[in-house]
Symmetry: C2
Subunit: 446 residues, 2 copies
C-alpha cells in the first residue's frame, strides 16, 4: 500500500495560517482580500526570472479540502475550537486567481500572481502557494540560463538524486523542461508530466563487470537503439577504443558519455577516435558538476560536445538557492493595504504589469501600475481561476515551453548574457506611488 | 480524492537504473553487490556532518514494489522487454542495510550507509536513497550549526514556504528537529513525525484589520494561552505599547515577534517597554533572514531575544545547498571494486568507521578501515536491515535527537565553532590503501 500523499495534505502549511483562520472565524472577518506574490529582488548576477508553478497552484487550489482525519488530528492538538474545525469541512477555494502564464519573463516587484478571495481562503493558501511558485520559478530561471548558455545544444536534467526531496526532483524536471531542457532522467516526471526521459548507464555497471568491454557489449545487447556508453570509469581514451571495437562487430552505438576530468579535452580526443573509426554519427554527451557557466565555457571552447547532462547545480539553483519572495495582502474589504516593515515595504492595491515592446519585438520596459490604470503595453497577468473554477483548459507543458522560448527570444540581448547587465527598466506608475503615500498618511497613526 | 503519492512511486528514479536492470536481467547478473554512500568533501567552512535520513531510507526499501500501472506505463514507453517488466512484479528489497544511526557526527569519505543485496536491488535504489540521505544530512548539518550558534535558546523551523517543494519542507522539519531545533511551523510535520508545532501570526493579519490594536485583541481572544503577537508591521515600539495596553486590560500575552529591521536594537527597546509595563514574562521571538551566523551575532550582542525562527537559509542550506555525495559499488560477487575516474576515485571494499575518544569522552579521531579489520575504537555503522527486514524497532525521533545532542557534545571544541577549523582527523587504514593499490594493479589493463 502506498502512503497518502503528504504533498497533497491541507496540513502542509504553517501553523499560523490555522491560528489566524480561527481568529478570523471567531471575529467573523471574511471580506474579499487580494494577495499578490512577488519577488523583492533578483539574486546577484541574475537578469530576469522565468515565472513557473502557476498550473500546480491552480491544481492545489482546486483540490484543497480537509478530510476527516485532518480535522481529527487538528482537534487532537487541543489548539482549536471544535466549531471552528467543523467549519473547515466545507472549506474550498472559491476565489479568483490571476497570474503571469508560466514561461513569462518577470522581474523584481512584479506580481507573479494575485489571489482574490474571501479572506480566510486567500490567507490559508499562502504557504503552499509560495512553496510551489518559489521553487519552480527558482529552477526555471536557473534552467533558462543553462539553455541560453548551451546555444541550441540539448540539455537533460540529471538532478533528482541531489534535489531537495522527491517533489523537488519532479518539479525541477518540469521547470527545466518548460525553460527549454530537452528532457529529464527522472522516470516519474516522464509519466506525470509527459516529459521526454533520457538515460545512459552508471559507473557501477562497468565496475560490476570483470571488464569494461563486456559491460559495453552487455548493455548494447539489452538496449538496442538506445546505446549510450559511459566511458570514463577507468581510462576514457581506452574506453573509446573499446566502443570502436564493439561497433566494428556490427553493434550500433548511438553515443558515449564523459562524466569527469577535463571534459573539453576528453571530448576532442574521443571525437577523433570515433571519427577515425567510422563512428562519426555517435554523439558525445558530457556531464559532471555542470552549470550554465561551465556549459558556456565548454561551448565557447569549441569542444565537440553534442549534449549536456545538468544536475545538482541546476536543480538546487546552487548560486542562488532561494528567491526573496513574498505573498502580501494588498487589499481587504475594498481598501488597499500596505506593509511598512523596515526594508520590506510593499506596494498596495491590485496591480497589473504592462509590458512595452520596440518595433523589432524586443522587450522595451515594464510598468507596474494599478490594475484599474489604463496604460500602454500588454498586460501580463491574466485570469486563471474565477469563482474557484478554471476560466479555460490548462495549457499543455509544450505550449508553456513554446511561450518560454518566445519570451526569452524577446529579451534585450544584454539580459540574455550570463553576466549581470544593466537592469531591465520596471517603472512604478505615478498612480501607485500616490496610493502608497495616501495609505502611509492614513496609517501613520498606527 | 487525493492523488497517489508521487514520492512513494518506484518510478521516482533515474531512467538508467531501469535500463541497467534490464541489462543485468538479460545477462543474468545478480550476485551480491555492496554499495556505500559517502560525502566526498565537506562544504567550504563546514567542520562536520550530522547523518540523517536513514530511517526514511529503511521505510523506502521496505515499501518498494512496482504496481500494475507502474509496469503498464513502463511498457508504454517501448523501451523495455515484456518479460523483464514482468520480472519486476516480484521485485522487493531483500538485502542488508548497515548505517550510521541518524544523529551521528560524520566526515568526508566515511560511509553513511552500506547496502548489501542482489545487484539489481542494490543498484535500483541508488537514486532515491541518495535523494533522501543527501537532503536530510544536508539540512541536519546546517541546522546543527544553528543549534550551536543559539547557545541553548530555542529555534523553530519556519522554512516550508521557500523549501524546495513539499517533501523538502517536511524532511527539513524532521532533520532540523533531530539536530536540536525545538520544533517547526509545518503542521503536517507535526502530524507525520510528532514534532512540536509553533505559530504566531502574519503581517497580513494586522493589515487586514483597520487598526493594529484591534488585530492584537482579536488574535488574543481566539488563541488564549498561545498569544504571540507580531509587532513590526508598522512601528515596532508603538506596537509594543499596544501590547502593553492589551495586557493592562487583563489579556494574557505570552510573547511578541519581531521580523524586520535591526533585530537586536528592536529587541532591547521592546524588552524595556515590556518590562516597564510589567510584562517581564513575555518572551521575544526574532525571525527574518536568519542563519547560524546571524543567530551567533545576535547572541553575542546580548540582545534580549528568547527564541529564533529560522527559515529559508536553514531549509535550503543556503551557503552550501548540496553535498558532493555518491553511492558507489565497492564489491561485487565477492570481489572489491573501485572507480578510478579522475578526481572521483573511491575506496574499495566493505568498510567500517572506527571512532576513538579521549579520556574526557571527546572524539579523538576516526579510522576508515575494511569491515573485516580489527581496529580500536567504536564502529559507527550498525545493522539496520537484514534480509529485507528490520533488525529491531526503529528508534524514536526523540531518541535520535538525544543521540545528536550527545554526539555534538563530544565534538572537539574547535569543530563546534562556526568558523572553519583544522579538520578532524580521519585516517585511512593501511589495509584499505593496500587493497586499493591491488585493485588498481588488476584493472590497469582496462
Amino acid at each position: 500500500m502506498r502512503s497518502r500523499d503528504p504533498t497533497a495534505s491541507p496540513l502542509l502549511t504553517d501553523l499560523y495560517q490555522l491560528t489566524m483562520l480561527q481568529a478570523y472565524w471567531a471575529s467573523g472577518m471574511n471580506e474579499t482580500a487580494a494577495f499578490e506574490l512577488f519577488v523583492r529582488s533578483l539574486p546577484p548576477g541574475r537578469n530576469f526570472l522565468l515565472a513557473a508553478g502557476l498550473e500546480t497552484v491552480a491544481d492545489y487550489l482546486l483540490g484543497l479540502r480537509f478530510a476527516d482525519d485532518d480535522l481529527a488530528w487538528l482537534a487532537s492538538t487541543g489548539r482549536f475550537d471544535a466549531a471552528f474545525l467543523d467549519s473547515l469541512r466545507d472549506f474550498r477555494f472559491s476565489g479568483d486567481l490571476d497570474a503571469m502564464p508560466e514561461g513569462t519573463v518577470a522581474f523584481a516587484d512584479e506580481p507573479l500572481l494575485r489571489v482574490t478571495a474571501p479572506l480566510r481562503e486567500a490567507q490559508f493558501i499562502e504557504t503552499r502557494v509560495l512553496n510551489l511558485v518559489h521553487f519552480q520559478t527558482l529552477v526555471a530561471s536557473k534552467a533558462a540560463r543553462c539553455v541560453l548558455a548551451a546555444s541550441g545544444r540539448p540539455l537533460v536534467d540529471f538532478g533528482l538524486r541531489r534535489a531537495h526531496g522527491g517533489e523537488a526532483g519532479l518539479l525541477s524536471a518540469r521547470a527545466s523542461y518548460l525553460a527549454g531542457f530537452a528532457g529529464t532522467a527522472t522516470v516519474e516526471a516522464g509519466r506525470r508530466f509527459g516529459i521526454p526521459i533520457f538515460g545512459t548507464m552508471a559507473h557501477s555497471f562497468v565496475q560490476a563487470h570483470d571488464d569494461e568491454a563486456t559491460a559495453f557489449a552487455d548493455f548494447a545487447r539489452a538496449q538496442p537503439g538506445n546505446v549510450t556508453l559511459l566511458i570514463d570509469t577507468y581510462d576514457t581514451a581506452r574506453a573509446a577504443r573499446k566502443v570502436m571495437a564493439l561497433a566494428a562487430r556490427g553493434v550500433p552505438v548511438q553515443g558515449v558519455r564523459i562524466d569527469s576530468g577535463d571534459l573539453a579535452a576528453h571530448a576532442r580526443e574521443v571525437r577523433r577516435i570515433l571519427d577515425e573509426g567510422g563512428l562519426a554519427s555517435a554523439r558525445i554527451f558530457a556531464s559532471g558538476n555542470l552549470d550554465e557557466e561551465r556549459v558556456a565555457q565548454l561551448v565557447a571552447s569549441g569542444a565537440p560536445i553534442d549534449a549536456f547532462g545538468v544536475g545538482t547545480r541546476m536543480n538546487v539553483s546552487a548560486d542562488a538557492p532561494f528567491l526573496d519572495c513574498a505573498y502580501k495582502l494588498v487589499e481587504y474589504a475594498g481598501r488597499p493595504r500596505r506593509k511598512r516593515s523596515e526594508g520590506k515595504a510593499t506596494w498596495p492595491g491590485r496591480k497589473q504589469v504592462f509590458r512595452r515592446f520596440d518595433a523589432s519585438g524586443t522587450m522595451a520596459g515594464d510598468l507596474l501600475a494599478l490594475e484599474s490604470d489604463a496604460a500602454d503595453g500588454a498586460p501580463l497577468l491574466a485570469p486563471e481561476l474565477r469563482g474557484g473554477a478554471r476560466v479555460g483548459p490548462a495549457p499543455t507543458l509544450e505550449a508553456v515551453r513554446d511561450r518560454a522560448r518566445a519570451q526569452m527570444a524577446a529579451l534585450p540581448p544584454r539580459l540574455r548574457a550570463l553576466a549581470a547587465a544593466d537592469p531591465y527598466p520596471v517603472e512604478i506608475a505615478a498612480s501607485l506611488r500616490a496610493l502608497a503615500a495616501q495609505i502611509d498618511a492614513q496609517t501613520a497613526r498606527q
